[in-house]
Symmetry: C2
Subunit: 112 residues, 2 copies
């Protein structure tokens, strides 16, 4: 009955949770699930986060290959962020988690 | 376009993630989703966790009302743990997260 875990510390869901457990990561993923955003657009949509912290969270999401960054040629060059395929497939699961929290955890409010 | 958040720091999904982001919490929820377990059964099913740590994680899951504890009369009295209704509704979302991780994150393995 004892299960075997191979090259990871715990189960796959734990690994997934680690990739999205940053204070602003779920909300960044929600906003990007509506389409690509420039940094300044995203920052205006998300209240109370500093630019420094949001940039850190975006870099961690990029490192986890959930978010991709595109530099568009032009003057000045424009940078946009969008969800990778992996990120796009995560978004509806996070939405279910959001709905679950709204149903079951007192005092939480919807983000939109 | 700026959203308003009321009495919480961030979005509902973040609050949900906080309740399940313990090293052994997702795996405890997975095992309890198969039915009630005595502490010793659960401990045997989950490798490499100490009894002390597993008890702490169970207490936090109880505090978050995801897990309930029943004391059965008898000698010696038997204690079992089971998912609350809230926990039962979370389990399939965690399973989707597990599946997503197995598809998209290299090096993760299935728990069963």
């Amino acid at each position: 009955m004892r299960h075997t875990y191979h090259d990871i510390e715990c189960c796959a869901a734990k690994v997934a949770l680690d990739q999205i457990s940053g204070k602003w990561k779920p909300i960044i993923i929600f906003h990007l699930s509506a389409g690509p955003r420039r940094f300044s657009e995203l920052w205006r949509e998300i209240p109370r986060v500093s630019k420094k912290v949001m940039l850190e969270q975006l870099r961690q999401l990029e490192a986890a290959t959930l978010v991709e960054r595109t530099v568009h040629n032009g003057f000045p060059p424009e940078v946009t962020y969008h969800l990778s395929g992996k990120g796009q497939q995560l978004a509806p699961i996070l939405q279910q988690l959001e709905q679950w929290a709204l149903t079951h955890i007192e005092g939480v409010v919807q983000i939109s």
